[in-house]
């Protein structure tokens, strides 16, 4: 929307894009950072890294969705 071209279908398109991208982003965040946390746990033996990674991943994904689609 930043390019200033306002088309009538943009509203619906943005809404649907957001709705269908959110699960994808959440999953990506969890897999990526949860996985990284798990690897760290394996290496260091500190179990806490896995949940920290998971939470970080979800938080980053939510932040990304908010910045991209939140008005």
């Amino acid at each position: 929307m930043s390019d200033g071209k306002l088309r009538p279908e943009d509203d619906g398109r943005d809404f649907a894009s957001a709705a269908w991208s959110i699960p994808s982003y959440l999953l990506a965040g969890m897999i990526l950072y949860g996985g990284a946390g798990m690897l760290l746990s394996r290496w260091t033996g500190v179990v806490a890294f896995t949940p920290i990674g998971l939470i970080l991943g979800v938080a980053l994904a939510v932040y990304l969705v908010y910045r991209k689609y939140g008005s």
Binding site: S2, E9, R13, D14, A16, S24, K68
Partner: protein
Amino acid sequence: MNTLTVLASGASGASEDVFTPPGLELFDYPPLIAGVSWFTKPVLLALLSTLIVVIFCWSAFAKPKLVPRGVQNVGEMGYMFVRDQVARPFLGKDADRWMGLLLSIFFMVWIWNLMGVIPIIQFPVASHIAFPIVLAISIYVLKIYLGIKHQGPIGYFKNMMFPPGLPKPIYVLLAPIEFLSNLIIAPFTHAVRLFANMFAGHIILAFFSLVGFWFVFEHLTPLGVGLGVVGVVMTIAMTAFEMFIQFLQAFLFAMLAAMYIGNSLHADH
């Protein structure tokens, strides 16, 4: 038919009187013709679906009249639905160019799914993951091709992974999420969503029909008959619900395809 095979397999088990709920064996089919290992029921149904879609569309659209009549009316309803609900919201003025693809996808997936509730056939083609995968991969390849063509090879990945307006250091953390989400999870869920819905729907239908069949016809007991009636009623209700889900999934599959194409044609932010 499924119930029969499952029943047979259940009956050949340890005990005659034990009710065995249907499982993954619902989706395993032997070759229809001995020796031709690739020619199974799902394959036959996939080919049949293709034939149905082609024949239907041919009779509707081959010689279209200005004043529509008969099958053309029905076909046009499908066309209008895909155009107004799928193509135009996501593609805008480019909608007409992609209608051929989206219409093909929508009709094909819907017929695949409908196979799940047609008596005797009763097997949703999309519950074998190979079929959704073919469509999802085609859309995935098209999406990347269009993205590179319309936004440039660098521009496409830059627009995808580095959405503007975020603080610089955070890109290091967010770009991998974007990459994973757009290039791996999105196509994966695109195929799996359709597959899983049809898979689960088929199991549920098979379960309730088996309950009804088992307790009403096979092992009629005063205690079990109530359960059997519930099973029959639920089979009818779930068939209606499943028809709705089948349509919805066909619509969603086409809609997501349109969304991916639209996002590749112009970066969305």
